[in-house]
């Protein structure tokens, strides 16, 4: 068996140096995707670069600008963070859906994004919240919106030597909220057949002024659905506009046909979940409006 190294950088710059020096090295965060891939022979890295000893990557900070989420922070820690759950309930829901509590004890949002599964649960919720990826590499730091981070199943914009350091989410405006829903064949511990997230902002009179909609597991990467957003903006988020948004999401979906769902089924479900997620986000935003 070929030997493998285990590296434990203490800083982002040290991690970047290690990654740049060895193209065969792989970042290890929670390992809940990577170790499965390693064990089944899908990935055979020359080194594991354990990023969980870099304090910056293991932190949650919320200030007037918004959230900075260290890429390797365990999902369980995120799911228990009261202020994060209050400000971004849909994002917190998506994190709390990842596997079991034990998977969440080590699994991270950074790993969820970097693994780049089309069905990854946090992607849609991050997209509707305008989240950005903060990336460090040999040439310094850059940011990429989450919606542009994954380019194909299993592939991201990360270049050799780069790593995802943090996810930044701007603070939501007044009367803004979000929601994320997915459909799985079992009630727990399964991969989404389809998922949908919505974020809506209401004015004082209850009209929707801004909306973001994203759908997952129905295309090679998560998709933003501008047509669904347009159906919601300017409306009171009544049944008719929610139905138009659902139809737009179904039309935008480009799902595969497999044992877990046919193309037609996934298309329909993407619409249903979009309608329900938008309705939940709207109810949450109205609730905020009633106690400012």
């Amino acid at each position: 068996m070929v030997a493998i190294r285990y590296e434990t950088p203490r800083s982002v710059s040290e991690a970047v140096r290690l990654m740049a020096a060895d193209p065969g090295a792989r970042v290890l965060a929670g390992g809940t995707d990577l170790l499965v891939q390693f064990r089944t022979g899908v990935r055979q890295p020359s080194a594991f670069v354990d990023i969980k000893r870099i304090p910056e990557l293991m932190s949650i900070a919320i200030d007037a600008h918004g959230l900075r989420l260290g890429a390797a922070t365990p999902a369980a820690v995120i799911g228990e963070h009261a202020e994060l759950r209050r400000l971004w309930p849909g994002l917190a829901e998506s994190v709390r859906l990842i596997g079991s509590t034990q998977i969440q004890g080590r699994g991270s949002v950074g790993g969820n994004l970097c693994n780049a599964s089309p069905a990854a649960d946090t992607t849609c919720a991050l997209i509707v919240n305008r989240a950005e990826c903060v990336i460090a590499g040999p040439n310094g730091e850059r940011t990429v919106p989450v919606e542009a981070f994954s380019i194909a199943p299993g592939r991201t914009v990360l270049q050799p030597g780069e790593l995802l350091v943090a996810i930044r989410v701007p603070r939501p405006a007044a009367r803004t909220s979000d929601a994320y829903l997915r459909l799985i064949p079992r009630t727990e511990m399964d991969i989404a057949v389809a998922g949908a997230a919505a974020s809506v902002t209401l004015d004082a009179a209850g009209l929707c002024t801004t909306a973001r909609v994203a759908i997952g597991a129905v295309a090679p990467t998560a998709l933003r659905v501008p047509a669904a957003e347009q159906a919601l903006v300017g409306s009171r988020l009544d049944e008719a506009s929610l139905k138009r948004a659902a139809d737009a999401a179904s039309a935008a979906a480009r799902p595969i046909d497999d044992k877990r769902g046919t193309t037609a089924y996934r298309r329909t479900v993407a619409g249903v979940l979009t309608r329900r997620a938008a309705a939940i986000a709207a109810a949450r935003a109205r609730e905020q409006g009633s106690h400012p």
């Binding site: 390992g31 499965v36 390693f38 594991f48 365990p74 596997g99 509590t101 004890g105």
Partner: protein, 175 residues
């Protein structure tokens, strides 16, 4: 390689010293400070079972699906089959062997016996480790909240009603 008992007066562990592609890993397992020199690919599950002879933690799927291998690392429940031993460097680990105090079972262990929370027993160590961790987590009061929180632990024998009863008994929620 067999583990060496560490001098507990030794300074706190810094980082795993990695040389010649082996990892020198210091762990505190059920309160005992131990040192292992192992291949960095060794999972915490294999380290416990094969190197430390702590076979109470079970290997069901080795892929994160079943929960049989659940242990606590740094106070949180994790899957030891998806955790490399080297990643647990310097951490405090509790396994099923560490719950009882000499002859006195942990209340959760006793409740599993009292409530018929198992049949063959293969999943039980993992179930109990999850159930003990659940007591410290923000889990809602109802049976359904317990089912949701225990959903990462599969029981091939279907002892679920007894498992939920045991957890609720320890939480003081009569049903």
């Amino acid at each position: 390689m067999s583990p060496t008992e560490l001098d507990t007066q030794a300074p706190p562990f810094a980082e795993p010293h990695v040389a010649d592609q082996t990892a020198d890993v210091a762990l505190i397992v059920n309160g005992r400070a131990l040192r292992l020199v192992i291949d960095p690919r060794v999972t915490l599950l294999d380290a416990l079972r094969e190197h430390l002879q702590l076979t109470g933690t079970k290997k069901g799927c080795d892929h994160g699906q079943c929960g049989a291998c659940t242990v606590h690392v740094g106070g949180r429940r994790v899957l030891s089959c998806l955790t490399l031993a080297a990643a647990a460097q310097g951490q405090s680990i509790t396994t099923i062997e560490g719950l009882a105090e000499s002859d006195r079972l942990h209340p959760m262990q006793q409740a599993f016996i009292d409530c018929d929370g198992f049949q063959c027993g293969y999943c039980t160590a993992g179930q109990i480790m999850s159930a003990v961790a659940l007591l410290q987590e923000p889990c809602g009061p109802d049976d359904d909240d317990v089912r949701e929180s225990m959903s990462g632990n599969i029981c091939r024998c279907g002892a679920y009603p007894g498992i939920v009863a045991a957890v609720q008994a320890v939480r003081g929620r009569r049903r």
